[in-house]
Amino acid sequence: MIAYLLKRLAIALATLILASIVVFAVLEILPGDPARLMLGMNASADQIELLRDQMGLNAPLIWRYLHWAGGLLSLDFGRSYTYSVPVIDLVRERLAVSLPLALIALALSTVIAIPVGLFSASRRGRAGDTISMGAAQLGVAVPNFWFALMLIYVFAVWLRLVPAGGFPGWSAGIWPALKSLLLPAVALALPQAAILARVTRSALIEVLNEDYIRTARAKGLPYRTVLWRHALRNAMIPVLTILGLQFAFLLAGTIIIENVFYLPGLGRLVFQAITQRDLIVVESVVMLLVAAVIAVNLLVDFSYAAVDPRLRSRS
């Protein structure tokens, strides 16, 4: 078990290092000179050269990479070209919007999907299954940003229950802040919940066909016990895998959803930074998101060991 966990950890670290090289390399080939961008149209070649020196842009590639990676490790991301503030401050401020948003969406999606999947699988082929899987089928097909627009139309424009966009900040109080995250979270969660419900159902159906389920039923265990104790537990591996993958989808989804709702989150920050060629911000936020995805997948790997005893004994 420890060998398994160590191996997964080593793989995660290697992936992280490789990812950082990719991010760095990709942004190196991006067109546009940040020094020229900062100084504007009228700067002379000498001025630009001087600033490039000051920014360390003329140093050798490998040295710049090591400097940058070392900075990431010590949470020193550098200064934003366009905002002229340390990137870490920007990130901290934006994370306070994006992290709660992603977590609420993930929680919503799980809370909706697992019971629906269970319900559907245990009523396979009957009306309840058909209706809930029909709804899931529809949910998978809905683009989250269109769903967001429809939610805005109904709940913000028409019923005036929640704001149509913007974020008052946590200083305005927990409730107003949460209220403005509610629609975005629902918009993010619904398509994910639909996918998760389908996966849960099919994983459960697969498990329910196994011999040991028949054995458990044959020895007189009630259906409910078999479903929760034997089937759900064995169906958890595909469900956990999808949950891990969905976290990456959620993070990416925040880029669009934050744009729909004008939320000052990480996704909006990185999108604006890309269009403004603010490379330091792009690098930092992308690395942060990638690190988050890798960390979540590592957690998923660890949880495999928790739900699957075979992995625990295997070295």
Partner: protein, 289 residues
């Protein structure tokens, strides 16, 4: 890749008969064909010219003259939805082609070889998976500039590890089976076995994943166009139409409703088609019914 399934007692007629009884397949098939026809029709005929701006007709609600209403430039939304279908289908389809063409051989190769090759390929897979797809797509389109072709590349790259993973997982489940052992005993090479026995047995899996990725590609293309990174105006695209609609939600909600419905119906049709195919061709799922 040829598509034939190892079920000896199954004739083409038998499969067709089953297809006609399968509601999901039929619904999905009809929707998909209708969307394709709509896109094809748009090449020769649309109710109105989508490049012509008629300011006098701007933001009109649905009517007999304009079934889906008009946008802020007086363009007919129905015509734009029709032309937009082309773009969505082309981008998503080519992206699936890229994903399958590169991903399936990689995954099958990894499963056949095992060991270090497998490990290395799967680590590269992990690496691509670590980048949220839309984020990399945004970065790719930011590097090469926005446009339909770059959207295809961006979505296609994300499809590669998906197909590699599915192909590998499917192939790994096939390799320990007895008929593979028999093929080995008959002296076939692992490449031969992969092509003759493994791929046909995972074809259903790949076809179903293909329709899923096609549907996801349509959603991704819409997302990129919504952010202004997909097909560029004046070429209409569903995502771009939704972007234009957003600030006009109060005055002209139809501008958002119809392009969105087009996306939902298309994706729904493709997903139903995929589910139907899985039902019809996979004997395992049939037993479960």
């Amino acid at each position: 890749m040829t598509l034939h399934i190892d079920i000896p007692e199954e004739t083409l007629g038998g499969i067709l008969a089953k297809a006609f009884r399968n509601t999901a397949f039929l619904t999905g098939f009809v929707i998909s064909v209708l969307i394709l026809l709509m896109a094809a029709t748009s090449y020769v005929w649309t109710p109105y010219d989508v490049t012509k701006l008629v300011i006098a007709d701007k933001t009109q609600g649905p009517s007999l003259a304009h079934w889906f209403g008009t946008d802020h430039f007086g363009r007919d939304i129905l015509s734009m939805v029709m032309v937009g279908a082309r773009n969505s289908i082309a981008v998503a389809l080519v992206a699936v082609g890229i994903g399958m063409g590169v991903g399936v051989p990689l995954g099958a190769f990894a499963a056949a070889r095992g060991g270090l090759v497998d490990e290395a390929l799967m680590r590269i897979n992990d690496l691509v998976f670590a980048f949220p797809a839309l984020l990399s797509a945004i970065m790719i389109t930011a590097i090469f500039g926005p446009g339909a072709v770059n959207a295809i590349i961006a979505i296609g790259i994300f499809n590669i590890p998906v197909f590699a993973r599915v192909a590998r997982a499917g192939a790994l489940a096939i390799w320990p089976r007895e008929f593979i052992l028999a093929a080995r005993a008959a002296g076939k090479s692992s490449t031969q076995i992969t092509i003759e026995h493994v791929l046909p047995n995972i074809a259903t899996l790949l076809l179903v994943q293909g329709t899923i990725q096609f549907a996801l590609g349509i959603l991704a293309e819409a997302g990129l166009s919504y952010l202004g990174l997909g097909a560029q105006p004046p070429m209409p695209s569903w995502g771009r139409m939704l972007f234009d609609a957003q600030t006009r939600m109060v005055a002209a909600p139809w501008m958002a409703i119809f392009p969105g419905m087009a996306i939902v119906v298309t994706v729904l049709g493709l997903n139903l088609l995929g589910d139907g195919i899985a039902d019809i061709l996979d004997p395992k799922s049939r037993r479960q019914r």
